[in-house]
Protein backbone atom coordinates (compact mmCIF):
# COMPACT_ATOMS: atom_id res chain seq x y z
CA UNK A 1 0.00 0.00 0.00
CA UNK A 2 2.71 2.37 1.11
CA UNK A 3 4.71 1.51 -2.05
CA UNK A 4 1.70 2.31 -4.19
CA UNK A 5 1.32 5.71 -2.54
CA UNK A 6 5.04 6.39 -2.99
CA UNK A 7 4.81 5.37 -6.64
CA UNK A 8 1.81 7.63 -7.14
CA UNK A 9 3.70 10.55 -5.57
CA UNK A 10 6.73 9.90 -7.72
CA UNK A 11 4.51 9.74 -10.77
CA UNK A 12 2.87 13.07 -9.91
CA UNK A 13 6.27 14.69 -9.42
CA UNK A 14 7.42 13.34 -12.79
CA UNK A 15 4.33 14.74 -14.51
CA UNK A 16 4.79 18.10 -12.82
CA UNK A 17 8.46 18.16 -13.79
CA UNK A 18 7.56 17.28 -17.38
CA UNK A 19 4.90 19.99 -17.50
CA UNK A 20 7.39 22.51 -16.13
CA UNK A 21 9.89 21.53 -18.80
CA UNK A 22 7.27 21.93 -21.50
CA UNK A 23 6.27 25.34 -20.15
CA UNK A 24 9.90 26.48 -20.05
CA UNK A 25 10.46 25.18 -23.58
CA UNK A 26 7.35 26.97 -24.86
CA UNK A 27 8.49 30.15 -23.15
CA UNK A 28 11.85 29.92 -24.84
CA UNK A 29 10.23 29.41 -28.25
CA UNK A 30 7.89 32.36 -27.74
CA UNK A 31 10.80 34.55 -26.60
CA UNK A 32 12.83 33.56 -29.65
CA UNK A 33 9.97 34.24 -32.07
CA UNK A 34 9.30 37.65 -30.57
CA UNK A 35 12.94 38.63 -30.66
CA UNK A 36 13.95 37.07 -33.96
CA UNK A 37 16.39 39.42 -35.71
CA UNK A 38 14.89 40.93 -38.83
CA UNK A 39 16.21 39.30 -41.93
CA UNK A 40 18.11 41.76 -44.01
CA UNK A 41 16.12 42.25 -47.17
CA UNK A 42 18.18 41.53 -50.20
CA UNK A 43 18.39 44.40 -52.61
CA UNK A 44 17.91 42.64 -55.87
CA UNK A 45 17.24 44.90 -58.83
CA UNK A 46 18.48 42.45 -61.43
CA UNK A 47 16.24 41.37 -64.25
CA UNK A 48 16.29 37.95 -65.83
CA UNK A 49 15.51 36.90 -69.37
CA UNK A 50 11.99 36.92 -70.75
CA UNK A 51 11.34 33.47 -72.16
CA UNK A 52 8.56 32.21 -74.39
CA UNK A 53 6.97 35.63 -74.65
CA UNK A 54 6.06 35.44 -70.97
CA UNK A 55 5.96 39.20 -70.43
CA UNK A 56 4.10 40.93 -67.65
CA UNK A 57 2.30 43.33 -69.99
CA UNK A 58 1.31 45.72 -67.23
CA UNK A 59 4.85 46.03 -65.91
CA UNK A 60 6.28 46.08 -69.41
CA UNK A 61 4.20 49.12 -70.37
CA UNK A 62 4.75 50.93 -67.08
CA UNK A 63 7.00 53.96 -66.97
CA UNK A 64 8.30 55.87 -63.99
CA UNK A 65 8.86 59.63 -63.71
CA UNK A 66 11.34 61.10 -61.28
CA UNK A 67 10.67 64.23 -59.32
CA UNK A 68 13.98 64.44 -57.55
CA UNK A 69 17.36 66.08 -57.45
CA UNK A 70 20.44 63.90 -57.59
CA UNK A 71 22.83 65.59 -55.20
CA UNK A 72 21.75 65.78 -51.56
CA UNK A 73 23.69 67.86 -49.09
CA UNK A 74 23.85 67.27 -45.35
CA UNK A 75 25.36 69.58 -42.76
CA UNK A 76 28.33 68.02 -41.04
CA UNK A 77 27.15 65.82 -38.17
CA UNK A 78 23.55 65.74 -39.31
CA UNK A 79 21.51 62.98 -40.92
CA UNK A 80 18.89 65.43 -42.24
CA UNK A 81 19.38 66.67 -45.77
CA UNK A 82 19.18 70.41 -46.35
CA UNK A 83 18.09 70.15 -49.96
CA UNK A 84 16.79 66.68 -50.86
CA UNK A 85 13.80 66.88 -53.18
CA UNK A 86 12.17 63.51 -53.79
CA UNK A 87 8.73 62.07 -54.18
CA UNK A 88 6.27 60.21 -56.39
CA UNK A 89 5.71 62.46 -59.39
CA UNK A 90 2.16 63.41 -60.35
CA UNK A 91 2.97 61.95 -63.77
CA UNK A 92 3.13 58.47 -62.27
CA UNK A 93 0.27 56.04 -62.16
CA UNK A 94 1.25 53.79 -59.27
CA UNK A 95 2.20 54.15 -55.64
CA UNK A 96 5.80 53.52 -54.76
CA UNK A 97 8.35 53.60 -51.99
CA UNK A 98 12.06 54.08 -52.25
CA UNK A 99 15.19 52.97 -50.46
CA UNK A 100 18.58 54.63 -50.34
CA UNK A 101 21.66 52.39 -50.13
CA UNK A 102 25.25 53.42 -49.68
CA UNK A 103 27.08 52.21 -52.79
CA UNK A 104 29.70 50.24 -50.90
CA UNK A 105 30.51 46.55 -50.47
CA UNK A 106 27.90 46.13 -47.72
CA UNK A 107 25.16 48.02 -49.59
CA UNK A 108 24.21 49.66 -46.29
CA UNK A 109 20.56 50.71 -46.14
CA UNK A 110 20.42 54.41 -45.24
CA UNK A 111 16.74 55.20 -45.66
CA UNK A 112 13.46 53.50 -46.44
CA UNK A 113 10.47 55.66 -47.25
CA UNK A 114 6.83 55.05 -46.50
CA UNK A 115 4.56 54.15 -49.41
CA UNK A 116 4.01 57.33 -51.40
CA UNK A 117 0.74 58.00 -53.20
CA UNK A 118 1.03 59.64 -56.61
CA UNK A 119 1.94 63.31 -56.18
CA UNK A 120 3.32 62.91 -52.67
CA UNK A 121 6.75 64.27 -51.76
CA UNK A 122 8.93 63.55 -48.75
CA UNK A 123 8.98 66.57 -46.42
CA UNK A 124 12.24 65.66 -44.75
CA UNK A 125 14.88 63.13 -45.69
CA UNK A 126 16.63 61.85 -42.60
CA UNK A 127 19.09 59.01 -42.97
CA UNK A 128 19.26 56.34 -40.30
CA UNK A 129 22.88 57.24 -39.64
CA UNK A 130 25.15 60.26 -39.76
CA UNK A 131 27.74 59.96 -42.47
CA UNK A 132 31.28 61.30 -42.20
CA UNK A 133 32.16 64.53 -43.98
CA UNK A 134 32.81 64.16 -47.66
CA UNK A 135 31.18 62.77 -50.78
CA UNK A 136 29.36 59.43 -50.71
CA UNK A 137 27.93 57.50 -53.64
CA UNK A 138 24.50 56.03 -53.03
CA UNK A 139 21.70 54.36 -54.94
CA UNK A 140 18.05 55.34 -54.71
CA UNK A 141 15.85 52.41 -55.69
CA UNK A 142 12.17 52.97 -56.32
CA UNK A 143 9.80 50.03 -55.81
CA UNK A 144 6.70 50.56 -57.92
CA UNK A 145 3.60 48.85 -56.54
CA UNK A 146 0.79 47.20 -58.46
CA UNK A 147 -2.43 49.17 -57.94
CA UNK A 148 -4.46 45.94 -58.02
CA UNK A 149 -2.26 44.06 -55.54
CA UNK A 150 -0.29 46.33 -53.18
CA UNK A 151 1.84 43.38 -52.04
CA UNK A 152 3.12 42.93 -55.56
CA UNK A 153 5.82 45.04 -57.12
CA UNK A 154 5.56 45.88 -60.79
CA UNK A 155 9.27 46.56 -60.85
CA UNK A 156 12.15 48.61 -59.54
CA UNK A 157 14.28 51.34 -61.00
CA UNK A 158 17.48 52.71 -59.50
CA UNK A 159 19.21 56.06 -59.75
CA UNK A 160 22.63 57.02 -58.50
CA UNK A 161 22.65 59.93 -56.06
CA UNK A 162 25.49 61.78 -54.38
CA UNK A 163 25.41 62.46 -50.65
CA UNK A 164 27.55 65.47 -49.76
CA UNK A 165 28.25 65.96 -46.07
CA UNK A 166 29.78 69.39 -45.66
CA UNK A 167 30.66 71.85 -42.92
CA UNK A 168 28.45 74.92 -42.95
Amino acid sequence: MENTEQNKTKGKKAVIALLLLIIIALGAVIFFLLNKPEEKSERDISEGLVVGGDIDEKASKARFTTDMNMIWTFPSGSAVSSNAHIGNSVSNVYECYFEVYLDDEEQTLLYSSPVLPVGKKIDKLELNQVLPDGSHDALCTYHVLDDEDPDKELGTVSFAVSLMVVKE
Binding site: D56, S60, N69, S91, V157
Partner: protein
Amino acid sequence: MKSKLTKATAVALAMTMCVPATAFAADNSGSFDTSFDIYSPALTIQVPLKADIQVNPFADSSATDVKKFDVASNSIDIWNASVDADKDIGIPVNATVRATITSQADDVITEYNTFTADATSSQKRINLNLSTAQTAATIKAKTGETLAFDANKKLNFAQFETNAAAVYTTPADSVAITKFGSLLSVDIGAPTTSDSTVGAKFTTDATKVTAAVGSFAVTGAANANADWKADDVAVEITYDIRASKPRNIKTPKIATAPEFTSGTSAADLKITVPSIGEATVTDIAVHNDAGEYKDFIWEKDAYTVDYTTTAGSAVITIPKDDSGLAYLTADGYKGKKQDLEIALSDGRMVVSTLTVK
Protein backbone atom coordinates in the same frame (compact mmCIF):
# COMPACT_ATOMS: atom_id res chain seq x y z
CA MET B 1 36.69 43.54 -59.58
CA LYS B 2 34.50 46.61 -59.30
CA SER B 3 35.45 49.99 -60.61
CA LYS B 4 34.08 53.18 -59.26
CA LEU B 5 33.29 56.13 -61.39
CA THR B 6 35.25 59.11 -60.01
CA LYS B 7 32.87 62.02 -60.26
CA ALA B 8 33.95 64.30 -63.07
CA THR B 9 31.79 67.08 -61.62
CA ALA B 10 33.23 69.20 -58.90
CA VAL B 11 33.01 68.00 -55.33
CA ALA B 12 30.43 70.07 -53.49
CA LEU B 13 31.94 72.78 -51.40
CA ALA B 14 29.90 74.92 -49.11
CA MET B 15 32.35 77.25 -47.52
CA THR B 16 32.73 80.83 -46.49
CA MET B 17 35.67 82.81 -47.74
CA CYS B 18 36.79 86.14 -46.40
CA VAL B 19 38.71 88.37 -48.77
CA PRO B 20 41.48 90.13 -46.89
CA ALA B 21 41.08 93.90 -46.81
CA THR B 22 43.67 96.08 -48.50
CA ALA B 23 44.54 99.32 -46.73
CA PHE B 24 44.23 102.50 -48.80
CA ALA B 25 45.11 106.03 -47.88
CA ALA B 26 41.45 106.67 -47.23
CA ASP B 27 40.22 103.57 -45.37
CA ASN B 28 37.27 102.42 -47.41
CA SER B 29 38.14 98.71 -47.43
CA GLY B 30 35.79 95.91 -46.47
CA SER B 31 35.24 92.22 -46.77
CA PHE B 32 32.49 89.98 -48.02
CA ASP B 33 31.47 86.41 -47.64
CA THR B 34 31.22 84.05 -50.54
CA SER B 35 30.01 80.51 -50.71
CA PHE B 36 30.17 77.63 -53.13
CA ASP B 37 27.50 75.12 -53.81
CA ILE B 38 26.47 72.50 -56.33
CA TYR B 39 23.63 73.15 -58.77
CA SER B 40 21.21 70.34 -58.08
CA PRO B 41 17.82 71.06 -59.63
CA ALA B 42 14.93 68.63 -59.44
CA LEU B 43 14.94 66.56 -62.63
CA THR B 44 11.80 65.40 -64.43
CA ILE B 45 12.88 62.25 -66.20
CA GLN B 46 10.78 59.30 -67.27
CA VAL B 47 12.15 55.79 -67.90
CA PRO B 48 10.53 52.43 -68.57
CA LEU B 49 10.08 50.29 -65.50
CA LYS B 50 11.29 47.12 -67.16
CA ALA B 51 14.04 46.08 -69.52
CA ASP B 52 12.51 42.90 -70.96
CA ILE B 53 15.57 41.13 -72.32
CA GLN B 54 14.39 38.47 -74.76
CA VAL B 55 16.18 35.95 -76.90
CA ASN B 56 14.64 36.34 -80.36
CA PRO B 57 14.71 33.30 -82.65
CA PHE B 58 13.17 35.42 -85.43
CA ALA B 59 15.76 38.18 -85.41
CA ASP B 60 15.71 40.08 -88.69
CA SER B 61 19.02 41.71 -89.62
CA SER B 62 17.20 44.12 -91.95
CA ALA B 63 15.00 45.47 -89.14
CA THR B 64 15.72 48.99 -87.90
CA ASP B 65 14.51 48.45 -84.34
CA VAL B 66 15.65 46.09 -81.58
CA LYS B 67 14.16 43.14 -83.48
CA LYS B 68 17.29 42.99 -85.56
CA PHE B 69 19.21 41.47 -82.65
CA ASP B 70 19.29 37.82 -81.50
CA VAL B 71 18.80 39.07 -77.98
CA ALA B 72 17.53 42.49 -77.00
CA SER B 73 15.48 44.41 -74.49
CA ASN B 74 12.80 46.88 -75.39
CA SER B 75 14.20 50.26 -76.38
CA ILE B 76 14.79 52.12 -73.14
CA ASP B 77 13.65 55.64 -73.98
CA ILE B 78 14.55 58.29 -71.43
CA TRP B 79 12.20 61.28 -71.61
CA ASN B 80 13.53 64.59 -70.29
CA ALA B 81 11.25 67.48 -69.32
CA SER B 82 13.57 68.99 -66.72
CA VAL B 83 13.14 72.75 -66.43
CA ASP B 84 14.50 75.36 -64.06
CA ALA B 85 11.45 77.59 -63.70
CA ASP B 86 13.34 80.29 -61.79
CA LYS B 87 15.93 80.66 -64.50
CA ASP B 88 13.35 79.87 -67.21
CA ILE B 89 15.65 77.38 -68.95
CA GLY B 90 15.41 73.78 -70.06
CA ILE B 91 17.94 71.47 -68.43
CA PRO B 92 19.97 69.03 -70.56
CA VAL B 93 20.99 65.83 -68.82
CA ASN B 94 23.56 63.11 -69.14
CA ALA B 95 22.49 59.55 -68.30
CA THR B 96 25.37 57.27 -67.40
CA VAL B 97 23.96 53.77 -67.58
CA ARG B 98 25.72 50.94 -65.79
CA ALA B 99 24.88 47.31 -66.43
CA THR B 100 26.31 44.21 -64.81
CA ILE B 101 25.66 40.51 -65.29
CA THR B 102 24.77 39.60 -61.71
CA SER B 103 24.12 35.91 -62.20
CA GLN B 104 24.23 33.22 -64.84
CA ALA B 105 23.37 29.54 -64.86
CA ASP B 106 26.22 27.03 -64.90
CA ASP B 107 25.50 25.99 -68.48
CA VAL B 108 25.50 29.55 -69.84
CA ILE B 109 28.54 30.83 -71.70
CA THR B 110 28.73 34.62 -71.65
CA GLU B 111 30.91 36.17 -74.32
CA TYR B 112 32.20 39.71 -73.97
CA ASN B 113 32.94 40.00 -77.67
CA THR B 114 30.37 39.44 -80.36
CA PHE B 115 30.17 36.10 -82.12
CA THR B 116 28.19 34.60 -84.97
CA ALA B 117 25.17 32.89 -83.48
CA ASP B 118 24.43 29.31 -84.51
CA ALA B 119 20.74 28.74 -85.12
CA THR B 120 21.18 24.98 -84.83
CA SER B 121 23.19 24.96 -81.61
CA SER B 122 21.74 24.01 -78.24
CA GLN B 123 24.65 25.64 -76.44
CA LYS B 124 23.56 28.59 -74.31
CA ARG B 125 25.99 31.14 -75.61
CA ILE B 126 25.24 34.85 -75.28
CA ASN B 127 26.84 38.26 -75.76
CA LEU B 128 25.10 41.27 -74.21
CA ASN B 129 25.78 44.95 -74.88
CA LEU B 130 24.45 48.35 -73.95
CA SER B 131 23.82 50.14 -77.23
CA THR B 132 22.84 53.77 -77.87
CA ALA B 133 20.24 54.18 -80.58
CA GLN B 134 21.31 55.62 -83.92
CA THR B 135 18.25 57.87 -83.65
CA ALA B 136 16.34 58.35 -80.41
CA ALA B 137 12.61 57.82 -80.17
CA THR B 138 10.23 60.78 -80.27
CA ILE B 139 7.08 61.32 -78.23
CA LYS B 140 3.74 63.01 -78.83
CA ALA B 141 0.58 63.83 -76.92
CA LYS B 142 -1.86 60.93 -76.65
CA THR B 143 -4.94 61.25 -78.82
CA GLY B 144 -7.59 63.29 -77.09
CA GLU B 145 -5.27 64.77 -74.47
CA THR B 146 -5.36 68.50 -73.78
CA LEU B 147 -1.83 69.17 -72.71
CA ALA B 148 -1.48 70.95 -69.40
CA PHE B 149 1.29 71.33 -66.86
CA ASP B 150 1.15 69.41 -63.61
CA ALA B 151 0.96 71.15 -60.23
CA ASN B 152 4.74 71.75 -60.41
CA LYS B 153 4.51 73.45 -63.81
CA LYS B 154 6.17 70.50 -65.49
CA LEU B 155 4.97 68.52 -68.48
CA ASN B 156 2.70 65.70 -67.35
CA PHE B 157 4.23 62.63 -68.95
CA ALA B 158 1.03 60.67 -68.37
CA GLN B 159 -0.35 62.62 -71.36
CA PHE B 160 2.38 61.42 -73.75
CA GLU B 161 3.24 58.31 -75.73
CA THR B 162 5.92 57.19 -78.16
CA ASN B 163 5.56 58.71 -81.61
CA ALA B 164 8.45 57.26 -83.63
CA ALA B 165 10.41 54.28 -82.32
CA ALA B 166 14.16 54.53 -81.82
CA VAL B 167 16.36 53.33 -84.69
CA TYR B 168 19.11 50.78 -84.03
CA THR B 169 20.34 50.08 -87.57
CA THR B 170 23.84 51.18 -86.60
CA PRO B 171 24.01 51.95 -82.86
CA ALA B 172 25.82 55.18 -82.09
CA ASP B 173 27.81 53.41 -79.38
CA SER B 174 27.96 49.93 -77.91
CA VAL B 175 29.72 48.49 -74.86
CA ALA B 176 29.87 44.89 -73.67
CA ILE B 177 28.07 44.01 -70.44
CA THR B 178 30.32 41.94 -68.21
CA LYS B 179 30.05 40.48 -64.75
CA PHE B 180 32.35 43.26 -63.65
CA GLY B 181 30.19 46.00 -65.10
CA SER B 182 29.93 48.28 -68.09
CA LEU B 183 29.22 51.94 -68.69
CA LEU B 184 27.31 53.68 -71.47
CA SER B 185 26.88 57.45 -71.57
CA VAL B 186 23.75 58.91 -73.17
CA ASP B 187 23.54 62.68 -73.61
CA ILE B 188 19.98 64.00 -73.74
CA GLY B 189 19.19 67.55 -74.74
CA ALA B 190 17.08 70.01 -72.82
CA PRO B 191 13.37 70.34 -73.50
CA THR B 192 12.62 73.09 -76.01
CA THR B 193 9.86 75.67 -76.27
CA SER B 194 8.27 77.82 -78.94
CA ASP B 195 6.76 80.09 -76.32
CA SER B 196 8.19 83.61 -76.07
CA THR B 197 6.56 84.68 -72.80
CA VAL B 198 9.24 86.64 -71.00
CA GLY B 199 10.52 84.83 -67.96
CA ALA B 200 8.05 81.96 -68.39
CA LYS B 201 8.78 80.30 -71.72
CA PHE B 202 8.63 76.83 -70.19
CA THR B 203 5.81 77.33 -67.72
CA THR B 204 3.05 79.15 -69.60
CA ASP B 205 1.75 76.90 -72.35
CA ALA B 206 2.33 73.15 -72.18
CA THR B 207 1.44 72.73 -75.86
CA LYS B 208 4.52 74.72 -76.79
CA VAL B 209 7.04 72.75 -74.73
CA THR B 210 8.70 69.65 -76.22
CA ALA B 211 10.50 67.10 -74.11
CA ALA B 212 13.80 65.64 -75.29
CA VAL B 213 14.42 61.89 -75.59
CA GLY B 214 17.50 59.67 -75.41
CA SER B 215 17.32 55.95 -76.27
CA PHE B 216 19.43 52.89 -75.58
CA ALA B 217 18.81 49.16 -75.33
CA VAL B 218 20.38 45.90 -74.23
CA THR B 219 21.32 44.17 -77.49
CA GLY B 220 23.47 41.26 -78.50
CA ALA B 221 24.00 37.86 -80.03
CA ALA B 222 22.76 34.51 -78.75
CA ASN B 223 22.19 30.95 -79.90
CA ALA B 224 18.47 31.59 -80.02
CA ASN B 225 17.32 27.99 -80.25
CA ALA B 226 19.01 26.82 -77.07
CA ASP B 227 16.65 25.96 -74.23
CA TRP B 228 16.84 29.35 -72.47
CA LYS B 229 15.29 29.79 -69.02
CA ALA B 230 14.26 33.02 -67.34
CA ASP B 231 16.96 32.71 -64.68
CA ASP B 232 19.77 31.78 -67.04
CA VAL B 233 21.09 35.32 -66.97
CA ALA B 234 20.26 38.30 -64.75
CA VAL B 235 21.34 41.87 -65.51
CA GLU B 236 21.29 44.83 -63.16
CA ILE B 237 20.87 48.29 -64.73
CA THR B 238 21.26 51.55 -62.86
CA TYR B 239 21.00 55.13 -64.08
CA ASP B 240 23.22 58.02 -63.02
CA ILE B 241 21.38 61.07 -64.37
CA ARG B 242 22.74 64.57 -63.82
CA ALA B 243 22.01 68.00 -65.14
CA SER B 244 24.80 68.35 -67.66
CA LYS B 245 25.85 69.58 -71.05
CA PRO B 246 26.89 66.75 -73.39
CA ARG B 247 29.77 64.81 -71.86
CA ASN B 248 30.64 62.77 -74.99
CA ILE B 249 31.93 59.90 -72.91
CA LYS B 250 32.97 56.87 -74.92
CA THR B 251 34.51 53.61 -73.80
CA PRO B 252 37.89 53.19 -75.55
CA LYS B 253 38.25 50.59 -78.28
CA ILE B 254 41.60 48.86 -78.68
CA ALA B 255 42.36 49.09 -82.40
CA THR B 256 44.29 45.81 -82.73
CA ALA B 257 43.44 42.95 -80.39
CA PRO B 258 46.52 42.08 -78.34
CA GLU B 259 48.51 38.94 -79.12
CA PHE B 260 51.36 37.42 -77.14
CA THR B 261 53.90 35.10 -78.71
CA SER B 262 55.36 32.73 -76.15
CA GLY B 263 58.64 30.87 -76.40
CA THR B 264 62.32 31.78 -76.46
CA SER B 265 61.80 34.90 -78.56
CA ALA B 266 58.98 36.20 -76.39
CA ALA B 267 58.82 39.90 -75.57
CA ASP B 268 56.79 41.60 -72.85
CA LEU B 269 53.11 42.00 -73.75
CA LYS B 270 52.17 45.63 -74.29
CA ILE B 271 48.52 46.69 -74.53
CA THR B 272 47.67 50.27 -75.49
CA VAL B 273 44.37 51.69 -74.28
CA PRO B 274 43.58 54.92 -76.19
CA SER B 275 41.42 57.86 -75.05
CA ILE B 276 42.09 57.14 -71.40
CA GLY B 277 41.29 60.73 -70.36
CA GLU B 278 41.84 61.29 -66.65
CA ALA B 279 41.07 57.69 -65.74
CA THR B 280 43.55 55.08 -64.59
CA VAL B 281 43.66 51.34 -65.12
CA THR B 282 42.38 49.55 -62.04
CA ASP B 283 42.12 45.91 -63.13
CA ILE B 284 42.95 43.57 -66.01
CA ALA B 285 41.33 40.20 -66.53
CA VAL B 286 40.65 37.48 -69.07
CA HIS B 287 37.36 35.63 -69.32
CA ASN B 288 36.39 32.31 -70.84
CA ASP B 289 33.23 30.60 -69.61
CA ALA B 290 33.94 27.60 -71.82
CA GLY B 291 37.37 27.17 -70.23
CA GLU B 292 38.26 25.78 -66.84
CA TYR B 293 39.51 29.08 -65.44
CA LYS B 294 36.35 31.13 -66.24
CA ASP B 295 37.91 34.42 -65.05
CA PHE B 296 41.52 35.31 -64.27
CA ILE B 297 42.33 38.71 -62.78
CA TRP B 298 45.95 39.85 -62.76
CA GLU B 299 47.38 40.93 -59.41
CA LYS B 300 48.13 44.64 -59.41
CA ASP B 301 51.85 44.09 -59.05
CA ALA B 302 51.91 41.73 -62.03
CA TYR B 303 51.80 44.57 -64.55
CA THR B 304 52.78 48.20 -64.98
CA VAL B 305 50.92 51.06 -66.63
CA ASP B 306 52.57 53.99 -68.40
CA TYR B 307 50.40 57.10 -68.85
CA THR B 308 53.05 59.47 -70.18
CA THR B 309 54.95 57.98 -73.10
CA THR B 310 51.94 57.88 -75.42
CA ALA B 311 49.88 61.00 -74.83
CA GLY B 312 46.23 60.31 -74.01
CA SER B 313 46.79 56.57 -73.76
CA ALA B 314 47.65 54.02 -71.11
CA VAL B 315 50.26 51.42 -72.08
CA ILE B 316 49.99 48.28 -70.00
CA THR B 317 53.03 46.00 -69.81
CA ILE B 318 52.75 42.40 -68.66
CA PRO B 319 56.18 40.71 -68.40
CA LYS B 320 56.90 37.83 -70.75
CA ASP B 321 57.41 35.42 -67.83
CA ASP B 322 54.01 36.21 -66.27
CA SER B 323 52.32 33.10 -64.90
CA GLY B 324 48.91 34.07 -66.31
CA LEU B 325 50.35 34.26 -69.83
CA ALA B 326 52.12 30.95 -69.23
CA TYR B 327 48.83 29.36 -68.20
CA LEU B 328 47.22 30.46 -71.46
CA THR B 329 49.83 28.55 -73.47
CA ALA B 330 48.13 25.34 -72.34
CA ASP B 331 46.19 23.16 -74.77
CA GLY B 332 42.69 24.45 -75.20
CA TYR B 333 43.76 28.09 -74.80
CA LYS B 334 46.88 28.48 -76.93
CA GLY B 335 46.11 30.25 -80.18
CA LYS B 336 42.52 30.95 -79.13
CA LYS B 337 41.03 34.32 -78.34
CA GLN B 338 40.19 34.97 -74.69
CA ASP B 339 37.91 37.84 -73.69
CA LEU B 340 40.09 40.63 -72.31
CA GLU B 341 38.68 43.20 -69.90
CA ILE B 342 40.44 46.34 -68.69
CA ALA B 343 38.61 48.22 -65.96
CA LEU B 344 39.12 51.98 -65.71
CA SER B 345 38.76 54.04 -62.57
CA ASP B 346 35.82 56.00 -64.00
CA GLY B 347 33.70 52.87 -64.48
CA ARG B 348 34.36 52.34 -68.18
CA MET B 349 35.15 48.73 -69.07
CA VAL B 350 37.40 48.25 -72.10
CA VAL B 351 36.78 44.91 -73.82
CA SER B 352 38.92 43.23 -76.44
CA THR B 353 40.50 39.81 -76.95
CA LEU B 354 43.88 38.40 -76.00
CA THR B 355 45.47 35.56 -77.95
CA VAL B 356 48.47 33.72 -76.56
CA LYS B 357 50.39 31.89 -79.29
